[in-house]
């Protein structure tokens, strides 16, 4: 099986790997919408959607748990979006209107390629699992993910009506404002990773490598402990970049009806939301890689030590096989992503939306100076630590 896979031309291999990742991301992104509904329900003291159950599945014992979790509502929603009538309003620019949801999907799925999502060991060396282990790593994520904004602007403009237009304008202003502090906030991490004299790299896997120290102490601490301000600014900017509450200016149902997606319905509308959740997943993944130690289970306990420990505990060499190590690391990494996603939802149902001027004020007058000060402080600190 493995030989067959590695015998294929590299283009086909890449295609298969890409399909596999999309097949994982797409259902998770869709499941996020149900998780969102359930989390909101629990926070509001309701049970949430828990009724749908196809009668031909009712005989399966234990399926009631899935029913209570609303899994079949998710299936029903998905089917509904596919079979609903596709409205195409008269007054829109048809080509760009149709293009916008597609443009939303492309960057959301493209950024996944450079995000490492696990690792395996070869002779003690950690090899990251990723579709494209490029050196520009984080730069590629920032460059491509900021393209996602074009879909919002395009949707807002092509809808040719006032609320979507306002939504699109807000989206562009907001993303530009927070992109700056986001980029500045991760610079200290990469300054630390790329010590003077060593070969420079912006690869995300490299950042995880730096958080893989063993034992207790600052050397093995995750960056969220050594650079809390960076982590905080990155997290806030991430909320703004993914248009999540309290920063969902482009959408803001209560003042802009639906913002950029007011004129959209059915499948096109759902594409925007799958893209939004895919963006959240990638954002959470980057946050986990940069600040939460990636696929390392605990600070001071890297993946390699965990696998060694398992080998000693069970006496089996199986744990060091690439497949087992890969699956364990992916599971740890996914758990971190899901925890981060939960925080996204938790915040959404806690904090009310900021006013538009407040969003601008936070971005330009608070976060940007803070991230510059943070960068300067860490630059000086890192200079003294590493020289």
């Amino acid at each position: 099986m493995a030989d067959l896979f590695f015998g294929l031309p590299s283009a086909v291999q890449a295609l298969l790997k890409g399909l596999a990742v999309i097949l994982v991301i797409f259902p998770i992104a869709a499941a996020c919408s149900m998780a969102e509904r359930k989390v909101s329900a629990w926070i509001q003291g309701r049970p949430g959607p828990n009724r749908a159950l196809p009668p031909f599945l009712a005989w399966i014992p234990g399926i009631g748990i899935l029913q209570r979790l609303g899994v079949f509502h998710l299936a029903a929603d998905g089917a509904k979006f596919v079979f609903k009538e596709e409205p195409l309003p008269d007054h829109v620019h048809k080509f760009y209107y149709t293009l916008a949801p597609v443009v939303a999907m492309v960057p959301a799925f493209t950024t996944v390629t450079v995000v490492p999502f696990g690792a395996y060991l070869v002779d003690g060396a950690v090899i990251p699992l990723t579709l494209a282990n490029v050196d520009v790593g984080i730069l590629a994520v920032f460059a491509v993910s900021s393209l996602g904004i074009y879909s919002l602007i395009l949707a807002g403009w092509a809808s040719n009506s006032k609320y979507p237009f306002l939504g699109g304008v807000r989206a562009s202003a907001q993303l530009i404002s927070y992109e700056l502090s986001m980029t500045l906030s991760v610079l200290p991490v990469f300054l630390w990773v790329n010590a003077p004299g060593s070969s420079g790299s912006l690869s995300l896997a490299r950042v995880v490598e730096f958080q893989s120290g063993t034992g207790l102490g600052w050397g093995s601490a995750w960056f969220v402990f050594t650079m809390p301000v960076s982590a905080l600014i990155f997290a806030i900017a991430l909320f703004a970049e993914t248009n999540r509450q309290p920063f969902d200016m482009p959408e803001s149902e209560s003042d802009l009806v639906g913002g950029f997606h007011t004129e959209y319905g059915a499948f096109k509308w759902s594409l925007f939301f799958v893209a939004e959740y895919a963006n959240m997943i990638v954002g959470s993944a980057v946050f986990a890689l940069l600040f939460l130690g990636g696929w390392n289970p605990l600070p001071g306990l890297p993946l390699a030590s965990l696998l060694e420990g398992l080998r000693h505990a069970t006496g089996s060499e199986l744990w060091l096989r690439p497949l087992a190590a890969g699956l364990i690391s992916i599971a740890i990494f996914l758990a971190k992503i899901l925890a981060t996603l939960f925080v996204f939802m938790w915040v959404r149902w806690t904090v009310p939306r900021f006013r538009y001027d407040q969003v601008m004020k936070i971005g330009w007058q608070k976060l940007l100076p803070l991230s510059i000060a943070n960068l300067i402080a860490y630059t000086i600190g890192i200079y003294f630590l590493q020289s």
Partner: protein
């Protein structure tokens, strides 16, 4: 009255930074998230109906199984939305309740009109109509939403009676003590 000067407090640092407030809020929502749901899962779980609840109006019988309504039509005339329609009828001579003289031939309450005000219950001199516990009425057609006499008695059942006034009247008549 002395004028009390109230100091307007400016925001504290924690309030201005706002993040501690957000974390405080998140703790509150987390508490609610872990708490059991406040809602009831309706068709399976039903709320307890408090006494005196004004549900669907019904007709009741007395413990002897006699229909109490004498079709005086007071409820029909008092009904603000005109939901009640009674066709009066008489009790034939020789029947066990002959002395009551009248009973409704038909008694319809249109539940699409009823506003559950309870005036019919209040006005009834015979204590024959009661708003009881049933709170959900549904049907597929307008005709289905009209409660006829048999349905009204089925919903109403039997309620205890304090007076048995028609029995008292009959025994008074029989003992020659008729005051009327």
């Amino acid at each position: 009255m002395a004028v009390i000067q109230v100091q307007r407090k400016s925001l504290t640092l924690a309030e201005r930074v706002y993040l501690p407030q957000i974390f405080g809020g998140m703790m509150t929502t987390l508490k609610h998230l872990l708490r059991p749901a406040e809602t009831m899962e309706y068709p399976e779980q039903r709320p307890a109906i408090p006494p005196g609840y004004r549900g669907v109006p019904t007709l009741v019988k007395d413990p002897n199984g006699r229909e109490k309504c004498v079709s005086c039509q007071l409820c029909e005339f008092v009904c603000p939305p005109k939901a009640i329609r009674i066709t009066p009828g008489s009790i034939p001579a020789g029947a066990p309740n002959e002395q009551v003289e009248k009973a409704p031939q038909a008694f319809d309450i249109d539940m699409l009109r009823c506003i559950y005000c309870g005036l019919c219950e209040e006005v009834c001199p015979e204590e024959a109509i009661f708003l009881q516990n049933q709170y959900s009425m549904s049907g597929y057609s307008r005709a289905e939403m009209v409660n006829h006499k048999d349905r009204l008695y089925e919903l109403g059942g039997t309620l205890p009676d304090k007076h048995f006034k028609w029995d008292v009247k009959k025994s008074a008549e029989e003992s020659g003590n008729d005051r009327h």
